[in-house]
Amino acid sequence: MLMTLCISFHNRKDNIMNDIRIDGTGTIGAGEYGLVKVDGVGRCKGDLRAESVHVDGIFRCRGGIHTRRLDCDGVVRMHGPLQAGWIGIDGMLRVEGSLTTEAMECDGMLTVYGDVKARELDVDGLMTVRGGTKIEATKITCEGMIRLNGEISADSIEADGFIRAKEIVGETVRIKSRRFGLFAFVMRRSSRIPLIEATTIELQGVRAETVNGQDVTIGRGCRIERLDCSGNLRIARGAKVKTLTGGYTLHKE
């Protein structure tokens, strides 16, 4: 099989760091770079520090990646933590370490084997956290699916997709799970969360064991075992709540 190697270096005038472009097959050493662009099959032997990383092909990094911007339109696998200012995923990204970012848009598939810390997370694809126990963010929006065996904590969580987690906690939690797209074939209808705890909670199509909040709206398709509400409470007709406690004020839907 013919393998092509095409790695180009551009030494930018304003910056001594080299740009790397891998169009065929190539391996780069650990170190600092400017732009790293992989259109073919690339490897990095250790920790990579770069201004930006753009992968349209396949890229495997033997260490962690520290960059301002990571565009993953192909397949990226890294054996260490990922620290990035912005992350865009249209392909597949696998991080075998923790993930820290200012903002992330995941339209593809992301698997993280560690904790996730972010300012903003937008998940329209599939995000799975395997090794880690928590996702911490200021704002999370999800029209796809988030799965983890631990806690999601954020000021604002808005989900039209599905969330599977042990706990969701924060200031505002709005989950309206509905059947749509590819997930309708592979997933069951509702989000399942043992504990939801927030100041304001709005749920639809959610199965939860315990829901604790100040202002709570339980929409249709919800199955809640225990609900504790200390403020305004709304329960839709199609919802089931087994045990209800707290000094709530019930409003008619």
Partner: protein
């Protein structure tokens, strides 16, 4: 000149987990629901402060209850911490508050002006001006014990020098330092949780302190 051998012990008690011991000893707990109603804070604030490390994760103690699982906190510590945050949050950002209230052992910080000779000598002993919270907390706690037990200044300085490398990576929360004397040499041992090390009769325990308490006392002391 006889060769002296100095040992700094870092021990982790293995009979039972730190969490089990802590739960046995900290019987004065407050439930999450009671905490919110007593202090008037919301779930959102509580979890934001947890994310910002203003409230240590170790204080969230999960226990089985008839409703499944409930979270409790050490009453005195959490009430004090919430009052501190509420009092300070108007004047400081959450990041600043995190540095002030829950510093990592590695967090860089200043040492308050003090008459204590050990604290005054700390930058010289370290060979640098930047002092981490762990180093400051240990030196502060050791200085208090040194005063009470009349430990010679030279012995304290030797102990600081030997202990500094061990402090790297230690958490301030839940780390207890026990200072003891073996013959004519003082040593320090660090443990996690409420478990205290047990020594044979040839060892004299001079005192113990948590790194977290030491840093709080240091901050509260008049400059």
């Amino acid at each position: 000149m006889s060769k002296q051998c100095y040992v700094v012990h870092v021990a982790e008690t293995k009979h039972c987990s730190a969490k089990e011991v802590r739960m046995e000893q900290e019987t004065d707990l407050i439930s999450k629901k009671d905490l919110l109603s007593e202090t008037g804070i919301s779930y959102g604030q509580l979890y934001r402060w947890k994310r910002e490390r203003l409230i240590p994760e170790e204080w969230f103690i999960k226990q089985a209850s008839f409703t499944g699982q409930e979270t409790f906190f050490p009453r005195e510590k959490i009430l004090k911490r919430v009052q501190e945050i509420l009092a300070l949050k108007e004047r400081h950002s959450l990041d600043e508050l995190a540095g002030m209230l829950s510093p990592d052992a590695a967090t860089s910080m200043g040492i308050p002006a003090s008459d204590d000779p050990l604290l005054a000598r700390l930058p010289a002993l370290l060979g640098r001006d930047a002092v981490s919270a762990g180093e400051a907390a240990f030196t502060w706690g050791l200085a208090q014990i040194g005063r009470l037990e009349h430990v010679p200044q030279k012995s304290l300085e030797d102990l600081v020098k030997r202990t500094i490398p061990v402090l790297v990576g230690l958490k301030l929360v839940d780390t207890v330092c026990t200072v003891y004397r073996l013959g004519s040499t003082w040593h320090a041992v660090f443990t996690r949780g409420s478990t205290r090390p047990l020594f044979d009769s040839g060892v004299t325990v001079s005192g113990s302190f948590t790194l977290e308490e030491a840093i709080s006392d240091m901050r509260a002391s008049p400059c």
